[in-house]
């Protein structure tokens, strides 16, 4: 028994000299087979999700009336955005309070979709209000306004918050 124990120990120790790989055997085969099936399923579900999103967008927000508002932070500004509010023609359409994880994602270059909605063709005004901290105990509140014309196609409005930027308000709004 003693010898067997040592042989088993040695076999186990020598089995994976460097980086571990999946074990052999029927349980390992079953797990690998299931793993392949789970990966196929994930592909299928991601495809459905994408198709569903596109369908939803066409159905609920047709391009003739769609307006999309996205938000990004100016790069390398190192401030904390805590909340943002978006108004179209004076009506509040979106507001968001940021978690630490969301803020970190924005700070690294992520872009958040704040609002997707429908508006009639013609002139409109987008109003943005952002609150946060530039430094500890140094809060900032910035507001920005932008008049845009909604034509026949979908309109995208990209907000960039930059308290240190050249724009007076610290908020830039680009239209696409």
């Amino acid at each position: 028994m003693r010898r067997m124990m040592h042989s088993l120990l040695l076999t186990a120790l020598l089995a994976a000299p460097c980086a571990s790989t999946l074990a052999q055997g029927s349980a390992g085969d079953d797990i690998r087979e299931l793993d392949d099936q789970v990966q196929d399923l994930k592909t299928e579900v991601l495809d459905i999700a994408a198709e569903l999103n596109v369908l939803e967008q066409r159905l609920l927000y047709p391009s003739a009336t769609r307006v999309t508002v996205s938000l990004a932070l100016a790069p390398n500004t190192g401030f904390d955005l805590s909340a943002v509010e978006v108004r179209i023609d004076g009506s509040l359409v979106a507001h968001h309070i940021y978690s630490a994880r969301e803020l970190a994602a924005l700070q690294k270059g992520g872009v958040q979709t704040l609002y997707i909605g429908n508006i009639a063709a013609g002139k409109h005004e987008l109003g943005v209000s952002a609150r946060g901290e530039i430094a500890p105990d140094a809060d900032f509140v910035r507001t920005g306004r932008h008049v845009f014309t909604k034509g026949a196609g979908a309109r995208a409005l990209d907000i960039t918050v930059d308290p240190a930027g050249p724009a007076d308000s610290g908020i830039r709004i680009d239209e696409r």
């Binding site: 000299p17 790989t21 569903l52």
Partner: protein
């Protein structure tokens, strides 16, 4: 500010990829990939998603090609993305980066020959930051294939690597063993066992080298040499229990049960669910017995027996708990996946019946793959649970719109025809008036008539423009009305079928995966129970034997 048309698509791409990054930086891999796929579909992407994913990820330095897929454990899709990157890339460093990542992916999945093929595609300028990684991976692949000859020179070169020095030192010993170069292997493992550790990983690999060498020497009957190496293993490292156990056996083999008692005495006080500890509990009184200290032997046999009884009860309860389905429920607890180290958190769960004895199993690659898949399936099930309701709501919306417009459309179409007819009539009148004006203009002395015609043409032109505008607006509105319900039937029905099929597949796979996990856990526990049962039998026999010897000693 309006973005110029030249920069329009670039801005759109940046925003579009930024939305994917927003999720990726939060570790929301499903959402990140969903965003990628949505962009591809929304823009009528005809290229395979792998190509688009490759393109997207090649424009951002934060994530390497295939990262999103790898993080969501879609290794096959990640491999396809990397293979696309390999095919498309003409830049050596990028190409080699992709080849390395592909090789590493295959290696981790146990696809050693695929890993070899991928690593063999690395050529030319290898980026500095992955040079050692590539070399170590190549050596690891050779070792996994049991090709020590090409592995040895590579590992020898890696000995001075800052990151891989300790691993290379140990693996070189194993390579020598594979090549039957026993003397070199022992020398190398000895060196690996004396390396200065710069971090915990180095210290662990050093312990492992000493444990392997000690065990090999013990196997060969070189007990005293074995003890030297086994005693080098740290008392608080991951290999400490096994080293203490082996050290005890080596001392027993060397005829020094008093020394064995020291190792086993330490080990017997440790976690009672550990394999080595359980063996030491039995071995300790055996060593006392060898020293004719039968009272102590009896006391330790009795103690071992009590401990085994408690553990056997725990094991039986754990097996029942698994059979009752509580193990899978424990795995689905929300708090487990709250952070990135959820596997570690799982192993640190409080002593619930579901997780007794399973730390080793939970740490194994097979089990973790199965477990992660089970949790991913549970997550997909949660996501998809709402989708049929959404699709049904869209279907209803389309039906309602169709009914609404069906009632309106005949009247609208009639109005449209009227508008169209009026526009044509006005256009014809306008054309006729223009011709008349041309004829009049050719005749001399018709200034007054021309002025009158010009005025009429102006008025008629305004009427045509107005009618055209009305016509255009009407056309757009008519098209929008039709677009709001036409051509949705087939995609909605297809999505509905696909979703139902996916939900059924999730249920099926979850059941299979769950059963497999339960079986793995249950088999593990049953094996431990059988082993412990044997130990308990031996402890009972040892106790009776010790008592017998005490009685005989008393009689004498």
């Amino acid at each position: 500010m309006i973005v110029s048309s030249a920069n329009l698509s670039r801005a759109a791409e940046r925003t579009s990829f930024g939305k994917t990054l927003y999720y990726a930086y939060q570790g929301k891999w499903f959402e990140a990939l969903e965003q990628l796929n949505t962009e591809v579909y929304a823009h009528g992407g005809i290229e395979p998603p792998e190509r688009d994913a490759f393109w997207y990820q090649s424009v951002d330095a934060s994530f390497s090609v295939g990262d999103f897929e790898l993080n969501y454990r879609m290794h096959r899709r990640a491999a396809r993305v990397l293979q696309t990157a390999l095919r498309e890339s003409t830049d050596d460093p990028f190409h080699n980066h992709a080849a390395y990542r592909l090789a590493r992916l295959h290696f981790r999945k146990g696809q050693i020959h695929d890993a070899l093929r991928a690593v063999d595609r690395i050529s030319g300028d290898v980026p500095n930051e992955i040079r050692d990684d590539v070399t170590f991976l190549r050596a690891s692949i050779y070792l996994a294939l049991e090709w020590p000859d090409p592995a040895i020179p590579i590992l020898e070169k890696l000995l001075k690597s800052k990151d891989y020095g300790a691993f290379a030192a140990y693996n070189l010993g194993i390579a020598y063993l594979q090549g039957d170069l026993t003397r070199s292997a022992y020398d190398q493992l000895d060196r690996a066992g004396r390396l200065k550790a710069r971090n915990e990983a180095d210290a662990a690999i050093r312990d492992k080298a000493n444990l392997v060498l000690g065990t090999l020497l013990h196997e060969e009957g070189q007990y005293n040499r074995a003890i030297v190496y086994l005693n080098r293993v740290r008392l608080d490292g991951p290999f400490s229990n096994r080293a203490l156990l082996s050290s005890g056996w080596a001392n027993m083999s060397a005829g020094r049960p008093n020394k064995a008692i020291v190792s086993w005495g330490v080990l017997a006080e440790r976690d009672a669910t550990d394999r080595a500890t359980q063996e030491a509990m039995l071995a300790l009184p055996y060593a006392y017995g060898q020293l004719d200290l039968h009272s102590q032997a009896a006391a330790y046999y009795s103690r071992a027996l009590n401990a085994y009884t408690v553990q056997l009860d725990k094991l039986s309860r754990s097996i029942r708990s698994i059979e009752d389905g509580r193990f899978l429920n424990a795995l689905l607890r929300d708090e487990i996946r709250e952070d990135a180290d959820w596997v570690i958190r799982l192993r640190a769960l409080p002593d619930t019946p579901e997780t007794y004895y399973l730390t080793e199993l939970l740490a194994s690659n097979d089990f973790q793959t199965g477990l992660e898949n089970y949790l991913d399936l549970a997550d997909l099930k949660r996501r998809l649970s709402d989708w049929p309701a959404h699709i049904a709501a869209y279907d209803q919306l389309i039906t309602d719109r169709e009914r609404y417009y069906e009632a309106l459309l005949p009247e609208l179409d009639e109005r449209f025809r009227e508008l169209d007819s009026r526009l044509q009539q006005l256009s014809a009148q306008h054309a006729a008036l223009r011709e008349q004006r041309a004829r009049v203009a050719a005749s001399p002395g018709a200034q007054a008539q021309l002025a009158k015609l010009d005025s009429s043409l102006g008025e008629l032109g305004n009427a045509v423009t107005l009618a055209q505008r009305q016509h255009d607006r009407f056309s757009v509105a008519r098209r929008a009305a039709a677009d709001s319900f036409e051509d949705y039937g087939e995609p909605v029905a297809r999505l509905s079928n696909k979703t139902e099929k996916a939900i059924a597949t999730i249920d099926d796979l979850m059941a299979k995966q769950g059963k497999l996990l339960e079986k793995l856990a249950s088999d593990e526990l049953k094996a431990r129970l059988r082993r412990l049962d044997v130990y308990a039998g031996k402890a009972r026999f040892g106790l009776a034997d010790s008592k017998d010897r005490i009685t005989r000693e008393d009689e004498q």
